[in-house]
Amino acid sequence: MRVTLSIPAIMAALLLSAAAGSAEQITFVSQGGAYQEAQTKAILDPVAKLLGITINQDSSPDAWPVLKTQTATGKPIWDVIDTPTKDCIRGGEQGMIEKLDFSRLPNAAEIPADYKTAYSVPYEFYSSVLAFNKEKYGENGPKSWADFWDVEKFPGTRALRSHPMATLEAALLADGVPADKLYPLDVDRAFKKLEELKPHVTVWWTSGAQSAQLLADGEIDMEMAWNGRVTAVIKEGAPIEYTFNQGFLQETSLCILKGAPNLDTAYKFLNAAISPDIQANFPAYIDYGPGNPAAYKTGKISPERAAQMPSSPENAAKQVLISVAWWSSPAGEEAQKRWASFIQK
């Protein structure tokens, strides 16, 4: 039954793709789920309309391994990916990602230099924030990583992500390193500070869903988690609060595959997707902030909504921008490898 039913469907799909072949098109890849649905409405559909192109979508929770296999053949299927900036950089260095010609991306001009790399433009920002249970701590909850480390003043169960990125930074801030002097990270000092807290960490979470569940079930009293996950838990009615203070601002970026089948259209797409006007659509659909800060000047984002956005100028000022350049450097790679033995021992 299934087979007989699906044959017309395949035929229709083939016909449609043949028809679309005449218009300009690209294949865009993101991480799937609610996030990709939100950006379809916020970014992809408006851009497709604006440029009159077809945007075929694919999703991959972790694009990196696929990226590697696709470019190994020299004939990738994907054009543009939305992925952590680190993958754009290491992909670029390994000849898998196109080096960007910024003269073809006029909208990138007003984006701060910190947010761009030779291979990528920022797409959206999220933040690793300190979240805590209001019932447990009342109005005087932990407000900094020094508080998070202070097990005397703030007793309770704690959770951190089982990943060194942002966690090492938090340890250094807790140890008194000024935010503007974090990089290059003093990895030894960070791990030493982490050893101090390790006996008091109940869970090292490995997925965003897990981090949300820990907060929602009251298993964990304070936690470093992604702001979108935290606000989702709050919307469900859990007594959770969070602060952007000392949060870690991280972005995913757009980059183009080396040998992309539709390179010209990919450039057009990139330029449109980072325009302030299109970027300003993000907050209407998801709790992740625009990658282009000029979006906050368009008037499309209300001040109340801006206050919840990790990348609004006010919130960005309280936070630390994760240095992807450092994490992509050999020292950063080394720190990642060291993480496994830190967790294991």
Binding site: S162, H163, T202, W204, E219, Q336, I343, Q344
Partner: protein
């Protein structure tokens, strides 16, 4: 005619052999395509780096302490889970084998029923039961048995509880299959010769049930070695097992070679365990002892 010189029964045999081969072909294709080829690819990948031959991925087992520590923890876990499953499973199988047909069916159904529920669902169920504000801790605190909630999950303990629960049928079923075949007359004879129940059990029943014990232990042990969901969900990020090392190597470090070498070593461990067990009980009986 040429046919007349051939022994007709031999021709028949050949024809039958061809037919058997033809019938086997789909199964062989599936095993070859879905098992042999990927495993071969895995082994190939584990000795490759940057287009050349290398043993660097295997050298890590000697140089990187994370690797052997993970294997150590995994084996430790497998021992504990196997022992717990045996202690819990033996009495169940014993009762089921001795009970009337109706009762034994009922007991086996109780054992097998959870087996049809997804492993993921069962792991989450344990999370809900065991967490700080879960059912067990709420009950204990409200009854005044404990002052503060116990740490029952997000550690090795929670992982063991859930893993034992999930793997228990693999212990009970081979045990039951073996015990059921032990003629009751033998234990009766032991009793009639003046043996106390304990003595008869230790001298007659227990030795006869050993093939089932070995089969169950091997199955549970081997399955625990490769377990992923329970340590990942209930281990709190600290119970680090081989399967997780494989997944981290791919997800975080993008080291396919390293991940492959770990898998190959784990596979070798499993083969070794089956080989050891086959000295005690033939391989077909481990897998077929139902």
């Amino acid at each position: 005619m040429a046919m007349s010189s051939v022994n007709p029964s031999l021709a028949h045999q050949r024809r039958e052999a061809r037919l058997v081969l033809l019938l086997l072909a789909p199964a062989l294709a599936v095993v070859g395509g879905l098992l042999i080829v990927p495993l071969g690819w895995l082994a190939w990948q584990s000795v490759r780096q940057d287009g050349g031959f290398t043993l660097a991925h295997y050298a890590r087992f000697l140089t990187d302490d994370v690797y052997w520590m993970t294997f150590l923890q995994t084996f430790r876990m497998a021992f504990i889970v196997t022992a717990a499953a045996l202690l819990l499973g033996y009495p169940v199988a014993y009762v089921a084998a001795g009970a009337s047909r109706r009762w034994s069916l009922f007991i086996l159904a109780m054992v097998v029923l959870p087996f049809w529920t997804s492993v993921l669902v069962r792991a989450y169920a344990w999370l809900i039961l065991l967490q700080r504000r879960g059912l067990v801790n709420t009950a204990l605190t409200e009854l005044g048995l404990v002052d503060a909630p116990l740490t029952l999950v997000n550690n090795e303990f929670g992982t063991i509880v859930a893993t034992v629960h999930i793997l228990l049928p693999f212990m009970v079923l081979p045990l039951y299959a073996t015990m059921q075949k032990i003629p009751p007359e033998l234990t009766m004879a032991g009793s009639s010769l003046g043996g106390t129940p304990l003595h008869v059990f230790l001298r007659v029943f227990l030795p006869l049930s050993m093939p089932g014990v070995v089969a169950g232990m091997v199955l549970v042990f081997v399955l625990t070695l490769g377990f992923y969901i329970t340590p990942e969900l209930l281990g709190g990020g600290r119970t680090y097992m081989v399967s997780m090392l494989v997944s981290r190597n791919i997800e975080v470090y993008n080291e396919w070679g390293a991940a492959s070498s770990i898998s190959v070593v784990l596979l070798a461990c499993v083969f070794f365990i089956f080989r050891l067990a086959s000295f005690v009980i033939p391989f077909e009986r481990i897998m077929g002892a139902r």
